[in-house]
């Protein structure tokens, strides 16, 4: 719409308050973000490295490219549809996107008969494998904050992946316990400096042990619950320390065992998760105890939720045979990428696309400025959820979905719009029940 009058000067910087951070899965919704001309964002209310870094990466929009040549959006969409229409074994992965983006990506994948997976599902699958084999007892972040009097952190400090975990969910006194006391024990992992600072008012115990043997430590701890005096040591932790911890666990009113499975270094890390889950279950014979499996960067938890409700099965599923077939080993994206003949890679939260085998047909949807080892067949810049468009994302605990709002307008389409356009450009089929 043309206007003769000059645009009135806008007061700069614009301050956005109570911003929802969509990046790491903790669902912090208290950020103050300043907008500086023309599209630069800076987080002012926290020094969380994830939030600060991710909000600050907002280069201007750039045009889509086909074979490296800038083209209009519709041309890129049609090129993508043409490549996908000819594919025999497509992979729709990355899936770093919001709920709407996930819906559109899964619909496209269903239409194509593709394999689906999220870029960061390794950690998620270490947990899901155990959930599906044995089940578990779990809790959510507000239960941790308000009821937990003993937090046992297993393995490497989860704050490396989820920086504000301790500040927001552990440092405040538990409002729903009398007395409102809390202590924190690190098992086979050491707290980061920032964690020590956040927990400076609380009793903290560090049981340094072999981080490759967290499962062993959990197993001896579970065994010691019945009779702590007969505890044995494991993972380099002395028997008397295990005994003392078992005693504390038995006396806890509401203990929480937290872990970030993505950080586990040992092979078959799902077995480590299984031992932690058993420890939690055994502790419930004496008191209340619950696990807190942490995951959730780039909305992996939300995308998995959408996939589960849409298909009845989680990610790492093939839609090639009409009925969804879930196989966490065969259909892990890194494995399937070796045999796929076309890849749709969605990475709306971060400007990163992995290197694929040479000659692989790649259609990449990612923020502007994404560096890629090889120029993909089609590159379509998309906006970031919670920056360029409103978005639904899930918190790590799988229960709480949040709505992040739009902060700036760089003129970028969201991933859902692009994915729907690609699906619409494919030859049409009648959906069936």
């Amino acid at each position: 719409m043309a206007s003769e009058r000059p645009t009135p000067p806008v007061a700069r910087p614009v301050v956005h308050r109570d911003v929802v951070c969509p990046f790491c899965g903790l669902g912090c919704d208290d950020l103050t973000v300043e907008e500086e001309p023309p599209t630069t964002l800076a987080v002012r209310s926290t020094d969380c490295p994830v939030a600060c870094e991710r909000f600050s990466r907002t280069p201007p929009a750039e045009p889509p490219r086909v074979a490296g040549v800038p083209v209009p959006l519709m041309e890129a969409v049609e090129a993508a549809a043409a490549l996908l229409g000819a594919a025999q074994a497509p992979l729709v992965a990355g899936l770093g996107t919001d709920v709407d983006g996930a819906r559109a990506a899964l619909s496209l994948a269903e239409r194509l008969g593709a394999v689906i997976d999220h870029a960061l599902s390794d950690g998620l699958y270490r947990n899901l494998a155990v959930l599906q084999r044995t089940g578990w007892i779990a809790t959510t972040l507000a239960e941790l904050r308000n009821r937990c009097d003993l937090l046992l952190v297993a393995g490497p400090d989860p704050a490396a992946l989820h920086p504000r975990l301790f500040e927001r969910w552990v440092a405040p006194a538990p409002a729903l316990q009398t007395p409102p006391s809390r202590e924190v024990v690190f098992l086979c992992g050491e707290p980061l400096d920032a964690t020590r600072t956040a927990l400076s008012g609380l009793p903290v115990t560090v049981l340094v042990g072999d981080p490759a043997k967290i499962g062993d430590a959990a197993a001896v701890l579970a065994a010691a619950l019945a009779d702590p005096s007969r505890a044995s040591g494991a993972a380099g932790i002395a028997a008397r320390d295990i005994a003392a911890l078992a005693e504390r666990l038995r006396k806890a009113r509401y203990a929480v065992v937290a872990w970030a499975a993505a950080a586990f270094a040992s092979p078959h890390a799902d077995l480590t998760v299984e031992r932690l889950v058993r420890l939690v279950r055994d502790a419930n014979r004496h008191t209340r105890c619950a696990g807190l499996p942490l995951a959730g960067h780039d909305n992996v938890v939300g995308v998995n939720q959408v996939c589960t409700w849409r298909f009845g099965v989680p990610l790492r599923t093939s839609l090639a045979g009409g009925m969804p077939l879930h196989d966490p080993h065969r259909f892990a994206w890194a494995r399937y990428a070796e045999v796929a003949d076309a890849v749709v890679w969605v990475s709306a939260f971060r400007p990163e696309v992995p290197a694929f085998p040479a000659g692989q047909t790649v259609i990449a949807l990612a923020p502007p400025g994404t560096a890629m080892a090889d120029e993909p067949a089609v590159f379509i810049p998309v906006g970031t959820p919670g920056i360029d468009h409103a978005a639904h994302i899930f918190r790590s605990d799988t229960v709480v979905a949040l709505r992040a709002r739009r902060l700036i307008d760089r003129g970028l389409p969201d991933a859902a719009t692009v994915l729907k356009a690609i699906a619409a450009a494919l030859p049409q089929e009648v959906p069936a029940c």
């Binding site: 316990q177 009113r253 009925m323 709480v400 029940c433």
Partner: protein, 549 residues
Amino acid sequence: MLTKLAGGRVYDPANGRDGAVGDLFIQDGRIVADPGPGAAPDEVYDLSGRVVMAGAIDIHSHIAGGKVNIARLLMAEEHRAAAQEPCGCVGLATPSTHATGCRYAQMGYTAAFEPAMLPSNARHAHLEMADIPLIDTGGYLVLGNDDLLLELLASGAGEEVVADYVGFMLNATRSLAVKAVNPGGINAFKYNQRRLDVDETGPFHAITPRRILTALAGAVQRLGIPHPLHLHGFNLGVPGNVEATLDSIAAVDGLRLHLTHVQFHAYGMEGDRKFSSAAARVAEAVNGRPNISVDVGQIMFGQTVTASADTMAQMGNAGLAHPKKWVMMDIECDAGCGVVPFRYRDKAFVNALQWAIGLELFLLIEDPWRIFLTTDHPNGAPFTSYPELIRLLMDRDHRLARMAELHPALPEHTILGTLTREYSLGEIATMTRAAPARILGLTDRGHLGPGAVADITVYTDRPDRRAMFETPDLVFKDGRLIVRDGVVVAFLQGRTHVVEPAYDPTIESWMARRFDERMGQRLTHFRIAEDEMRGGAGLIRHACLPGAF
């Protein structure tokens, strides 16, 4: 466009029609009065001899939300088996959203309501329900174990403040009704209490379950929510729990109360097995009190999965898991969830008696306007078993034949064999259409009068009632034909039914402080905006009629 459904036998209990032959006219998605001989319908369906009813409405079916997804994950085996079938989604205990919408529509249902939406999980539940095609949805908000409400009650807050809190929560979470699940019990379980009696003070908040129950029933009345408090009662599945069920009826003292999946709460402890039917006692209480309604939660035999917010009861049942795995979750200072796979076996005495207790309730409770057909999907059985259940209610010979196949000790423990009642088509239409709409306050659904939404199901009248109700000939949603001869022929999106009771917003400042101090979430972010619901085009609001407490 004008559509005429000509010459069907119309079962429309809300408008007093019980099988009389007549025509229906549809225009712009609604039923209209007969436009007279001058009108030329664009489309005419000859329904001579067919049975015509409104679209069916399921008032209690766990179709969406966190626990449903956990159940899907836990039931990996059934999905793996289903993947081998040509269209293996039939009869799954944990169908996908797509299969949920299709199977309901294929059975002639046009709405189903998720009866256990946790406040913290409401946004998720709505996002998921928006992906269920073809049918309308809505959610009942689980309250009664939320620390905020318990704190309010323990502090001696008056009925008005409690109603304001409930009113805010219903608006913020876009809910249709209030559900209470084992009031106080889920909260007590978080303090390692494995049982809580109706008059026992909770471990942290000094408040009894009875007080929570009466406060919520009172708040529902005060706010004028059409649906009475939807109560999942005390001691689910425990022999002898009938006492607590009758006590709950007494506790609300004349206020309206809906007892859900009452089959699981109608157990005595008489006889050599210390497990007996108390259906007759429950039925007597319900028959004598017009303020009480129930849905049954019938069990049917086979593999399913139980999913409930009642962690206290589910932890007690975890040892019975089949397969042997289960999930418990303490959730966000408002409730919990327990998911336990279960196989009801027809040769097991307890399961056979549960089956008989459910049917006794159906047959002994006289008023079809106050008893609803549910299996508490998937807890008693998947909703796809409704046609078989309808046959059991309508066909005594079939019932007796089925009973003869069950555990041999069953006949001496149930009066089922002596009950001669057979439901009529009109009673089925009441129980599955007219009554659900009325008890939820959906004034333009569940009937076929002018102005009603044209959600219509057409059946061939077959003596095998299961076959009849399994595969309707035609199903219309909003006037559009969506199913023909059991096949989905068109896809459309349903709507979300909500209430928006008025309340005093002063309560919000207290809540906002509590959210900041405890929940790590701003109250403004907790509230679900209208444009989040099906892209802003999804809400159907139902009127509240506030009454004095």
